[in-house]
C-alpha cells in the first residue's frame, strides 16, 4: 500500500518517468543503506573518532583528551606494530598464494565428470564449514609436541624427543599458514569452480580438433576465462587473510617471541587486555585502511575486466 501511494504521489508531482524510477529505486535501496550505515559506517567512523583521543580505561583520571594524530605518530614509531604488520603481510601473501593454487587444483578436479563427484564436492567444503576457532583448536592439537598427530606420523610413538612445532618461531608461523590454507582453499575452489562452469565445452572440442594438448588448452582457454573468478577469489581471500585473528588467538597467542603476532591481534591486546582504547582503535583504523585500499585496487581491476569483456 505504502509503496503504491508513494508511487501515485510521484505521478501527481508530474516528474518524468525516469526521474520517478530513480526516486523509487532510491526508496527501495534505503533500508539496505541504513543497515550498512548503522553496522558498517558508524563503527568505522567511531573507531576513527576514538583513534584521535587518548583513552586509557584504567586511568579515568586522565580524562579522554583529543590529541589529534598523536596516536598515528606513535604507531609509526612502534616497533611491535611494525613487526606485526610485516607478519600480517607475510601471512596474507603466503596464505592467499597457496589457497589460490590449491583452490585451482581442487576446482579443476571437481569440475571433471567422475562417479561420486557430488560427495567429493560436498566433502571439499567441510573444512570451510567448520568454525575457525574449532579448526584452530584441532590444528593446535595436531602440532602439539607430545601427543600431536603430526609428530606421530613423522616419528611414530617410540621417540623420546619430538619436534615442538609451535615453539619455533618459523614453524609456528608456518603452522598458522597451513591451518588457514587447509581451511579456506575450498572457498577459493568454490569460486573458481563457478568460473570453470561458465566455459563452454565447444571451446575445448575445437581446441582438441586443432591439436592443442592438455597444457595448451589449460593455458589458452581455461586460465584466461577463469581470470575474473580468480580475481574475485583473490580479493576475498586477501581481505579475509589481512584480518586474521582467531587462528593466532587459539593456536599461539602471538608467541613464541612475537613471531605470530599479527596486526589484528596486537590491536585486540591493546584494546581488550591493556585498555588502551584510543591507541588500539588507531591500529583498527590502519587495518581498515589497508584492507579498503586493497579492495579498491582489486575492484578497479575486476571492474575494468568486465567492461573490457562487454565491448
Amino acid at each position: 500500500m505504502i509503496f503504491g501511494l508513494f508511487f501515485d504521489y510521484t505521478v501527481t508531482m508530474k516528474l518524468s518517468l525516469s526521474a520517478r524510477e530513480r526516486i523509487f529505486a532510491a526508496f527501495l535501496v534505503l533500508p539496505c543503506l541504513l543497515f550498512v550505515a548503522i553496522f558498517a559506517f558508524y563503527p568505522i567512523l567511531y573507531s576513527f573518532y576514538l583513534s584521535l583521543h587518548r583513552i586509557i580505561l584504567s586511568l579515568p583520571g586522565l580524562k579522554q583528551p583529543f590529541i589529534g594524530l598523536a596516536n598515528y605518530r606513535e604507531l609509526l614509531h612502534d616497533a611491535v606494530a611494525l613487526h606485526s604488520l610485516v607478519n600480517t603481510f607475510a601471512f596474507v601473501f603466503a596464505s592467499t598464494f597457496f589457497e589460490l593454487v590449491f583452490g585451482l587444483i581442487i576446482a579443476l578436479i571437481i569440475n571433471r565428470h567422475f562417479s561420486g563427484r557430488g560427495i567429493v564436492r560436498a566433502a571439499v567444503l567441510v573444512p570451510w564449514a567448520i568454525p575457525t576457532v574449532v579448526a584452530s583448536q584441532m590444528w593446535r592439537f595436531i602440532f602439539n609436541d607430545n601427543y600431536g598427530l603430526l609428530n606421530y606420523l613423522l616419528f611414530g610413538s617410540g621417540v623420546t624427543s619430538y619436534k615442538a612445532w609451535l615453539a619455533d618461531p618459523f614453524f609456528a608461523f608456518s603452522a598458522i599458514v597451513v591451518a588457514d590454507v587447509w581451511k579456506t582453499s575450498s572457498f577459493a575452489a568454490l569460486i573458481i569452480l563457478a568460473g570453470l562452469q561458465t566455459i563452454p565445452d565447444e571451446l575445448y572440442e575445437a581446441a582438441r580438433i586443432d591439436g592443442a594438448g592438455a597444457w595448451n588448452r589449460f593455458r589458452s582457454i581455461t586460465l584466461p576465462l577463469i581470470k575474473p573468478a580468480l580475481l574475485i577469489a583473490l580479493l576475498f581471500r586477501t581481505m579475509d587473510a589481512f584480518r586474521v585473528f582467531d587462528l593466532v588467538f587459539v593456536m599461539t597467542q602471538g608467541g613464541p617471541a612475537d613471531s605470530t603476532n599479527v596486526l589484528q591481534f596486537y590491536g585486540y591486546k591493546k584494546i581488550f587486555a591493556e585498555g588502551l582504547m584510543g591507541y588500539g582503535s588507531t591500529i583498527s583504523v590502519l587495518v581498515f585502511l589497508v584492507t579498503f585500499s586493497v579492495s579498491l585496487l582489486y575492484i578497479r581491476m575486476i571492474g575494468s575486466r568486465i567492461l573490457q569483456e562487454k565491448t
Binding site: F3, G4, F7, L17, S18, E21, F24, L28, P31, I56, L57, S58, L59, P60, G61, L62, A79, V80, N144, D145, N146, T160, S161, Y162, A164, L166, A167, D168, P169, T252, Q253, G254, G255, P256, A257, D258, K269, F272, A273, E274, G275, L276
Partner: protein, 445 residues
C-alpha cells in the same frame, strides 16, 4: 544505454516480495532482541551473577554453591564460566565491566588486577563491608594486593605461590636432596634423565610455564628475583630488567633450562600442559602453583601419585628463594544492583569453613592465617606446613593500573629472549625497559 520502461503494475508485483522480505527481517530482529528483555524474578529471590573461570576441580565448586543456596534461600547464584587462562578471563570480564553490564555482581579477580579495576572504577570499594579488624585475619600480602590508594577492593579467597615439585622416588634413587640452587637442579635433572634413559625410560628434567602469556612473567620473575634482580625497583619505581642480575637470570633460563633440561615444547606450555608432563611421569621437576599437589597425588589423574615431594623454589648462589604471589580475590561490580546479596555470597566464600573445604578438597591454600594451624587442613595438605613461609613472603608483581600493558611488554621480551638461542638479551632488555618506563610515566601524570 537503453532504459526499460516498466508499467506501474509490474512495479507493484515487484514490491510484495520486498515487503515480505522486510517483514521477515523485522520478525528476525525482534526475535533477536526479545530474549534480551529480562524475565521478572520471582518475588523474594535475589539472583547473584557470579563470573568465574573454568575451575580445576568443578565438583568442589558445585558443592560450595549448593551449600550456599541451601543456607540462603533468598539468594540464587547464577554462574557464568569464563576461560581458564587468566588473560582470557580478564578480556571477557573487562569487556562486561567496561560496558557497565548489570549482569555481573560478583567476580573473580587475579592478584594483579585490583589496581586496574579500582582505578577504572569497575570494582566497588569494600571498606564498609570488610573492616580493618577483619582484614587483619588475612595474609598481609594478599590484603596489600587488594588495596589501592587506601581502599580495599577485593577479598582474597586463596593464595598462590610458585613452588618446586619433584619426584621423591627418583631423587632418593639417585641419592639427591631437593636442590637449593638452580644450578643444582640442572645437574640433578641431567643425572637422573640420563640414568633413566639407560633404563629405557624417556624423561625430561624440568617442566614449567614458558608460553608467551602471563604465566611466563610469574616464572621469569622468580629467576630474576632469586638472583638479586628486580622487575621494577621498589624504591625508585623504575624497571630493573636491564640490570645485570636480571639479564643473567634470563640468560640462564635460555641456556640451561629450555632445550637443556626442559623440552623446547615448554615454550608453548601453560600450567595444565606443564603439569600433564609431570603427572604422566615424564618430568623430574615441576614449577607450579599449590593446586598441582592435589592433582599430582590423585591416582585417577596422575601416574606419580604418592611419589611427589615439594620444596621452595631454588635460587642462584648468593640469592634467596622467591615465589611469585598469585591467587584470586572476589570483588563486587560497581554496576551491581544486588550489592548486599553479593556481599553475603562473598562473605560465605571467604569464610573459614569454605576456605577449609577448598584447602582439603581442592588443595587451594587459604588466605586466613589461622587456618595454617588447622589440624584437618595440615593432615590433608601436609605441604602447607612447609609452604606457609612461602605464602607469607610471596612477592607481588608490579602493582599498577596499567599492569596489563607492562605485562605484555615483559611477555614479549621474555619470550623472544628465551626462544632464540642467539637472542641479544641485553639489547632486548634495554628496549623492553624503555617501553616500560613510558607506561610507568603515564601513571604518574
Amino acid at each position: 544505454m537503453k532504459r526499460t520502461c516498466l508499467s506501474s503494475s509490474r512495479h507493484r508485483a515487484g514490491i510484495w516480495p520486498v515487503l515480505k522480505g522486510l517483514t521477515v527481517c523485522l520478525v528476525l530482529a525482534l526475535a533477536l532482541i526479545m530474549p534480551a528483555c529480562k524475565k521478572k524474578e520471582t518475588a523474594g529471590t535475589t539472583t547473584v551473577r557470579f563470573v568465574t573461570w573454568k575451575p580445576n576441580q568443578p565438583a568442589v565448586w558445585d558443592e560450595i554453591i549448593r551449600t550456599f543456596e541451601a543456607g540462603h534461600p533468598g539468594i540464587r547464584v547464577v554462574r557464568e564460566t569464563g576461560p581458564h587462562s587468566s588473560t582470557g578471563f580478564h578480556d571477557l570480564l573487562t569487556q562486561k565491566l567496561k560496558n557497565k553490564s548489570p549482569d555481573v555482581d560478583v567476580f573473580f579477580m587475579d592478584v594483579i588486577w585490583p589496581s586496574e579495576f579500582a582505578a577504572a572504577g569497575w570494582a566497588m570499594p569494600l571498606d564498609s563491608y570488610f573492616p580493618q579488624g577483619e582484614r587483619n585475619k588475612f595474609l598481609d600480602g594478599t590484603v596489600l594486593a587488594n588495596t589501592y590508594k587506601g581502599h580495599i577492593y577485593g577479598v582474597p579467597v586463596f593464595v598462590d605461590g610458585g613452588m618446586l615439585y619433584y619426584r621423591k622416588d627418583l631423587l632418593e634413587k639417585y641419592g639427591f636432596k631437593p636442590p637449593r640452587t638452580w644450578g643444582e637442579m640442572v645437574s640433578q635433572a641431567k643425572k637422573i634423565t640420563s640414568g633413566e634413559a639407560a633404563d629405557n625410560v624417556a624423561m625430561e628434567g624440568f617442566s614449567g610455564q614458558f608460553k608467551q602469556y602471563e604465566g611466563l612473567v610469574c616464572d621469569m620473575m622468580e629467576y630474576i628475583l632469586s638472583n638479586g634482580g628486580n622487575i621494577v625497583d621498589p624504591d625508585t619505581g623504575q624497571p630493573g630488567i636491564a640490570a645485570k642480575p636480571a639479564v643473567d637470570a634470563v640468560r640462564f633460563v635460555r641456556d640451561q633450562i629450555i632445550g637443556n633440561i626442559a623440552p623446547e615444547g615448554e615454550l608453548t606450555y601453560e600450567e595444565p600442559e606443564s603439569l600433564a608432563l609431570f603427572t604422566q611421569g615424564k618430568a623430574v621437576f615441576l614449577r607450579n602453583w599449590p593446586y598441582a599437589w592435589e592433582v599430582s597425588n590423585d591416582p585417577s589423574r596422575s601416574r606419580v601419585a604418592g611419589k611427589v615431594g615439594i620444596a621452595k623454589l631454588p635460587h642462584f648462589p648468593g640469592g634467596r628463594s622467591y615465589s611469585t604471589l598469585g591467587g584470586w580475590q572476589l570483588a563486587i561490580s560497581s554496576y551491581s544492583k544486588h550489592k548486599d546479596a553479593a556481599w553475603t555470597f562473598i562473605k560465605f566464600l571467604t569464610s573459614s569453613r569454605i576456605q577449609k573445604l577448598l584447602a582439603v578438597k581442592a588443595g587451594l591454600a587459604p588466605t586466613r592465617k589461622a587456618l595454617y594451624d588447622d589440624g584437618d587442613i595440615l593432615k590433608a595438605d601436609p605441604q602447607f606446613r612447609s609452604m606457609k613461609d612461602v605464602f607469607l613472603t610471596a612477592y607481588p608483581r608490579p602493582r599498577s593500573p596499567l599492569y596489563p600493558a607492562i605485562s605484555n611488554i615483559l611477555q614479549r621480551y621474555f619470550s623472544s629472549a628465551i626462544s632464540d638461542r642467539n637472542s641479544d638479551i641485553e639489547g632486548e632488555a634495554r628496549k623492553a625497559s624503555q617501553e616500560m618506563e613510558k607506561i610507568i610515566a603515564l601513571t604518574r601524570e
